[in-house]
Symmetry: C2
Subunit: 331 residues, 2 copies
């Protein structure tokens, strides 16, 4: 899973330190070496704090910067940061306007950010609210109360859009409401090729509906013609998203770390075509599109498709200037 | 080598079409489907034209846009485009100010761009000059006349800096001179882990001094402690670059497509530390740094380190606004 370093435990912290060194122009390593904060804070705004296990680089720490996150904390590979680490990150950036924790829907992250939020009173200078991202398109709960949709690459869309609003001075309640709206309008599905074990031949199956921790997919399918895989991904996301006939979409085609760029580019075009064909009487528009390795799973061979239903306000916030390590435009 | 598509022949063209669909806001697919041009040309400037085999995405077509290339043409995977394709790309963007062909030092690219340049008179509206990029740090020619240094990830540095000057209206002769200066101040070395054959265990060796076509390295080394590999990369590049004691450097740590982002980030920090330690009485500064998958070799597991010796003018041109698919800032 890793190439150069044999100790994943050390790798997570060393990678974070590497990022801080590399991007000393905009980032600073927090005390203890487990979180990243903006080098130049924007005063008087709500602090956006996120985090999770390592192994998903550049998420989350690569999204710290103007117009996106204020701080991100990181646990070991695929392991949530502990509450004290979340709190340390939040304490570094939270003022009287308070903090919004953006949390992926995974048990570990939920638990640790919950505890940090409980511990916050007395430790932070302002109130804390949490925003749970659950953008997975496949919901196995079938209407039951339990949340069964995981937080996937849609997390970065939420962070970008809410980050832009925070940068413009929106208050905590507005950001919670905006964030919930974006989560509700964002759906993701991932596919991956199972990594062959040592000495094994490559599999002729694909995992459909994978998370970002190397776990099995929701289903396993026989490998089929490439455009059929794409059509299936588009169908699953659209069924969950249920866009109106004239919807404008943001598309993020995210590589998991081991997918060749030549194929990501190909698939991006294929998704656009499949969206047109899948529409029937609808006239869906891909208003914005982004392709690259943003939410990885070490070097997993696969990718995820995220679609967000835009409106004028969300489009404007998506287009707003951002300057993080892994996302930059307009400045 | 590829995941979803079994036909590399079709993949190259489909990937290009995908890019054009994805980035229809700034790019347009050329007639014949083998080259990419800017959607909105900048009138009255020298046209920058580059290209090469597919499999290196996002290079070259992902670097077409404001402040960088005007057109890029693409051959099949790891195969140079034919002269007629180079000429078709150039014809789409070349005005009376002429065109600069930016060519990686590989036999196939040299031959085909040479022939295109010869055919250009009568076909293009302005003069053509060529700029050969040969940034490989390891030169096996040992002083002989033959050029033995290949064009590697330093190509994107040359394209960015020369592209900025062209955007500002520099003439063809100035761009040739500037480009030669950047090539002379840019050195790259790559390392990769050999891909195990089906049924083989991963190798305990690394290829040192690899190109970008999956060919063997200049040397094969026993895998050693990660920081020693990095130190060796830094040493080789610095020895070839021979920077003055107070040099300011641009560092590009480029993933080949199959290197986990968590390790790229780690290595970026390690390179900065190694540069400090390698300096002796020197005080080298990493003035700008960039890390990501920019010049790939399908999904090769490895990366390359590029260092460019900056001065005030080169730094200013590097910082100038750019808006290509794969590189964007300042706009």
């Amino acid at each position: 899973m890793t190439l150069f370093l044999n100790s994943p435990a050390a790798l997570a912290e060393q990678s974070l330190a590497g990022l801080a060194t590399l991007r000393a122009d905009i980032l600073r390593l927090g005390e203890g070496g487990r979180h990243i904060v903006r080098r130049t804070p924007s005063p008087g705004k709500v602090a956006l704090v996120s985090g999770g296990g390592a192994g998903h680089e550049p998420m989350h720490c690569g999204f710290v910067g103007h117009g996106m996150l204020d701080a991100a904390c990181q646990g070991p590979v695929f392991t949530s940061p502990t509450p004290d680490r979340v709190l340390a990150a939040a304490a570094d950036v939270t003022g009287p306007q308070g903090a919004l924790f953006i949390v992926k829907n995974y048990d570990g992250d939920r638990l640790n950010f919950d505890m940090a939020a409980e511990m916050a009173s007395g430790h932070l200078r302002g109130p804390v609210r949490q925003l749970i991202v659950e953008d997975e398109a496949i919901d196995l709960s079938r209407g039951e109360a339990a949340l069964n949709r995981r937080g996937l690459a849609g997390t970065m869309v939420v962070q970008k859009i809410v980050g832009a609003a925070a940068e413009r001075g929106a208050d905590l309640e507005h950001l919670v409401s905006l964030g919930s709206r974006v989560v509700g309008r964002t759906r993701t599905v991932g596919v991956a090729f199972p990594a062959p074990g040592a000495g094994e031949a490559p599999s002729d199956e694909i995992e459909f509906g994978v998370g970002i921790h190397g776990e099995p997919g929701r289903f396993r399918l026989k490998r089929e013609a490439a455009h059929l895989i794409v059509a299936r991904m588009v169908t699953v996301v659209l069924e969950s998203l249920a866009p109106p006939p004239d919807a404008r979409l943001l598309m993020v085609l995210n590589g998991f770390g081991g997918m060749p760029m030549i194929e990501l580019q190909w698939m991006a075009g294929e998704v656009c075509q499949a969206l047109r064909q899948a529409t029937g009487r609808r006239t869906l528009t891909v208003a914005r599109a982004l392709t690259g390795n943003y939410v990885t799973c070490l070097d997993m061979a696969g990718c995820s498709l995220t679609l967000t239903l835009l409106d004028d306000m969300l489009l404007d916030l998506w287009d707003a200037p951002v300057h993080a390590h892994a996302l930059r435009w307009g400045m």
